[in-house]
Symmetry: C2
Subunit: 368 residues, 2 copies
């Protein structure tokens, strides 16, 4: 027994992992994946200029990174035409969500999210003793009106809302979100997770000033920019909220080369456009593969496709296992009715070929 | 005004920065440093094999890192001959300290440290509402007996103790620490920060099992291994304590290339030995420079030297400013009587030459 006396909150919590990582699954399996299509990473990779910048920076990895991520933060501010004090850079959206929850949620505080939405947010809320109130999806979309009603009912401090959504890939127009925000209760903050925004159609971005006091927007270099392993996310919000991160964040937590890589990636808009094109093509191909196998691909504004297997969750989970046995790594939503779907990331053509080969076998296996 | 409703604790805290980073100082100055000797980084750099491994890994930076840092954790366990569940890898010692404090410290809980010890630990304690009780240094050493007495008096949950110490560079024998631990109060955990252990003489490591329930040891790749910008630290402790980190940590927070670099660095013992030799030589050279200028270098078991300027804190702070104006970046302890010292990192020969050139001028300037 350790001598550490945990806080009552900590003592009440399980040691947990919001996601089992792909490497863990590979070790358990004893073999690498043929198709890594479960983590919504960008197999198309980051801008070659970002990789080059990172490799160059590696020579100076003995230096701590800039604790204010000054250059990256200012480049983001320039891109968005906002003051730099509306921007904070952190260790991925996960790290920023953790900080945000710590800033606002104490034991017993109410937080609203959707049933089946991002588990890592829920993990952070639990870690601060918050009480989660969950609203079901509505036609495979997050139900913003429902979330806001729930927020009013439970006096929520935070309302988590992803647009586009993970794990369903659905989206709302930015204009409809801006309009709905009129109903955001006075003491609630909308936590707008825009990890997949770069894959969404025009009009998905919320047309409100970045310093609108009602929202914090979370974005990342992990998806469209292909830098998931670098751990670079950022938040855009009112300067009062951004400044508060300095109360809890790990000030020297940002990897030095990662900051430099993200800056180079941000500047290579041509590469971003290429990736967006490849993701679109891969989305279509995933859709074809699904349909060829009698499954129903849902519309997606992300770098993955939720595929409706037209059966129950037990069936979809069995299908996922059968695919994993063939080296195809996918994930799927947890709660019904979303769990009738499997979630397929937009991988490389060869990976999608592997999926196309494995899926019929897996379906035969689970329908036997 | 943001809509975010901060917790009462957060509302009571200042937005702060435990350290102003070197890049910030350079920007304020409008010029780069001639000698970067203030952050105890390793200008000798990491193992070339670590840089090579990192650069190779950069090509796969689109993948999330292994959330369990499996390979690195197991290599560390092998090195120390302990089970892997005694080891956790995190985003530098800073990140691990933040997690540890969250696990144990709630509002009003008592924590003990030395007056003038690591500010980032204090920052994390404040961030969780803990009450810091500070014990003065004793002859420029942390006063372990005094810390343990204070811990008993105030019912401390954590006792922070660095060995070797930062900012003074002093150290205790591991055997004396092990003996003193007999007086550690029942409900207290010793937080043993060993960031500089690789620079210390034989016998500095505490000769107790790594799973001793009374200690958690924190080590890093930022100092001797030259990977400060990569953000890789680790903790060694009883499995019960290690497992608890999974309640609060950012599971996918580790940079993928950094994990791989740290593993390669760990395996290059030859490079480590070279760095240790260079640090020793640089320590001697810093000592010479100090003595040539009528200052008194204190004995050091780290990669820096605390130099007693033989005057008061005002003098030392003025000297630091005068050196900064010449492009020589140093730091110094904050409270008296430690603030009679300036702290000089073991830099490259050219940097120490720059220091040797700048110091007489700076001394003339401040004694004028």
């Amino acid at each position: 027994m350790t001598r550490a006396r945990f806080t009552p909150l900590i003592a009440s919590l399980p040691s947990t992992v919001p996601f089992v990582g792909p490497e863990t699954l590979q070790r358990d399996r004893g073999a690498d994946f043929v198709a890594r299509l479960g983590a919504n990473e960008s197999a198309f990779g980051p801008s070659p200029r970002a990789v080059e910048a990172m490799r160059e920076a590696d020579a100076e990895i003995w230096k701590y990174g800039d604790s204010s991520s000054h250059d990256l933060r200012h480049a983001l501010a320039q891109k968005y035409g906002c003051p730099a004090d509306c921007v904070i850079v952190g260790e991925g959206i996960d790290g920023l969500l953790g900080n945000l929850v710590r800033l606002t949620v104490a034991t017993g505080d109410a937080v609203v999210t959707s049933e089946g939405a991002y588990p890592t947010f829920n993990y952070h809320v639990a870690g601060c003793g918050g009480t989660l109130h969950k609203v079901p999806y509505r036609d495979d979309h997050e139900d913003l009106a429902g979330l806001l009603r729930m927020a009013a009912d439970c006096n929520a401090k935070l309302v988590y809302f992803a647009n586009p959504d993970n794990p369903m890939g659905s989206w709302h127009s930015g204009a409809s979100i801006a309009a709905a925000l009129e109903d955001l209760p006075e003491g609630a903050l909308l936590v707008l997770d825009e990890a997949y925004l770069e894959f969404a159609p025009a009009g998905t971005e919320v047309p409100l000033p970045l310093d609108d006091p009602r929202i914090i927007r979370l974005r990342t270099f992990s998806k469209a920019y292909g830098l998931a392993g670098a751990r670079v996310g950022y938040a855009l919000a009112h300067p009062d909220l951004i400044a508060a991160f300095d109360k809890v964040r790990n000030h020297f937590g940002m990897n030095r080369s990662a900051q430099i890589a993200a800056l180079a990636a941000l500047r290579d808009e041509e590469w971003l456009a290429k990736v967006q094109g490849k993701v679109k093509a891969a989305r279509n191909r995933v859709g074809e593969i699904a349909r060829e196998n009698g499954l129903l691909p849902l519309p997606s504004a992300t770098n993955f496709v939720a595929v409706d297997c037209r059966r129950d969750g037990e069936f979809a989970r069995a299908l996922l296992s059968a695919l994993l046995e063939q080296g195809v790594f996918l994930r799927m939503p947890a709660p019904p009715p979303l769990d009738r779907c499997i979630r397929i990331s937009c991988g490389l053509p060869a990976e999608l070929d592997a999926l196309a080969g494995a899926l019929p076998k897996a379906l035969r296996h689970v329908t036997r």
